[in-house]
Symmetry: C2
Subunit: 346 residues, 2 copies
Amino acid sequence: MSKHLVIMAGGIGSRFWPMSTPQMPKQFIDITGCGRTMIQQTFDRFGGIIDIDHVWVVTSASFKDIVADQLHGINPQHILLEPCMRNTAPCVAYVSWKIQKEDPEAQIVVAPSDHLVMKVSEFKNYIKKGFDFIAKGSRILTLGIQPSRPETGYGYIEQGAMVEEGMYQLSAFKEKPDLKTAIEYIQKGTFTWNSGMFMWSADTIVNELRAYAPGIAAIMDKILPDMFTDKEQQVVNELFPTCEKISIDYAVMEKTRIAYVQPAEFGWSDLGTWGSLHTLTPHDDSDNAVIGDSVTVIESQGNMIKVPNGKRVVIQGLQNCIVSEHNDVLLICQLSQEQRIKEWHD
Amino acid sequence: MSKHLVIMAGGIGSRFWPMSTPQMPKQFIDITGCGRTMIQQTFDRFGGIIDIDHVWVVTSASFKDIVADQLHGINPQHILLEPCMRNTAPCVAYVSWKIQKEDPEAQIVVAPSDHLVMKVSEFKNYIKKGFDFIAKGSRILTLGIQPSRPETGYGYIEQGAMVEEGMYQLSAFKEKPDLKTAIEYIQKGTFTWNSGMFMWSADTIVNELRAYAPGIAAIMDKILPDMFTDKEQQVVNELFPTCEKISIDYAVMEKTRIAYVQPAEFGWSDLGTWGSLHTLTPHDDSDNAVIGDSVTVIESQGNMIKVPNGKRVVIQGLQNCIVSEHNDVLLICQLSQEQRIKEWHD
């Protein structure tokens, strides 16, 4: 049995405009200024566990070259191009059928391409433990993030009985709660955040999709003969759009009887907002988070500043703002108004 | 008698950083976004009065190519390069000696390169009237700007008896006053702002410099034989730095007995501050002055925004700030703190 990594990289990251654009969304950007893009960091944190030969990326056709460029050495056959967005179930199905064809013994971890993990060694331990767990039988494992606050922006996973140390039966998926409900979840202590990370064998997920998403499975069976051939993309372009638009959570996770959850804590953030980036970036004494190596900040408090390295910037007398420059587009706005950024794009 | 224009272009414009830099100061920049730089606008407003053949520029050696580029068709012999800044008297002396050598009958108007004139046809009338006035005898004429407020940032000119319609004897130069004094000047009605614009014949100013600045005159007499030769710059580089550092106001205007003032009103500004640019630029309903054709301003008041055309900028929730981007340098600061911009340069 060999281990494979599937990176889901189809997002458009519109909340981080102008840094993230439809042409170069969040996952392909070095958001934190560490020198590696989000998808590169995602790959890096599986180092020592999964070889580049066993890395798969599902993304949009327009990002093919970016993926090949950023994940140097990836097998071009492992970059799967969705002709349109059909949520996560068809995406997972496509890559699972294809992995199974190449490696019927494959064990798989699925990870979003644009999340942040700050405690990488802890992360690796959870992943290794997860692989051990799914090797013991036909099991679907999710990684649940130990919540640090009653967040209303995430879905939650309710855990049931413990089946072994650190592993629980998955009792229920919960939609994004209101604040009162979120507080109850935190108090109960049996709820974790749904991180969108899954582990399973190729056999297991293909079987579960056959059982609970037979329409999608039938389409994948039609594509299967042409996988790894010159005709693959053409057939995918034709048939993939006919898949039902449904998440893997709805299609499989809520129905399957073999779902488990491993609560985890590894300094996770989905970096979904400028505010979360502000929280996670080192601050100066005045609560300014600055990414960019040529920025001078004077008499300013609580700002999130993200500009290219080398860009000379002087900021004086600014409070609680986002200042972001990318590709010669400049945004200055109140941090509290960031949910409106989408309205301001061209 | 033919008419000559001397443009004084040695300034460094450091208050408008980052738009204005030591390498490309204010006078060589299209500050107002009209499509012409300040020195080009200065030249333009003498159109129909003075030919390009009779235009002279005194500037620093480092700006030679910029001047030649921006004032297309200027005689390269008419670009005078100061090896160092010695205030205005040596500068005026150098160009006056040189003009006199080329054209002993020359009548001259001297103008700063970085001021704004909004009523150009009125301006032309004042200049024409000024040339008529100095043609009548050995006279030095200054243009005094009718003050619109008790400004403490300018010097003032006190006028004496009227000698003909609109022309007065120059009674006194006054240093930048305190507010109380400035209010008195305004109330008296016989004070105008010193615009730094002068009109005289070459003979007159050379004679007055001989009388009141004999040291500088002696140095110019030494340079004179090499003017218009290959040796000129070498000799200037050697002798010009030995000139006393003194303004034409102190050296000549305060001593001469043939000084006159023509009070004028032609929408003048020295554009000395971001605040003055803010005042003079058209505003939106929220008092934002925007120069730049791809700027969106939302829920913001009282800002001065100056970015290159084509630069996409979104600004939300910003009050009373300067936002200036130039040559990939970005400044955001409180408009009220603009006098500190010099401190923030590299």
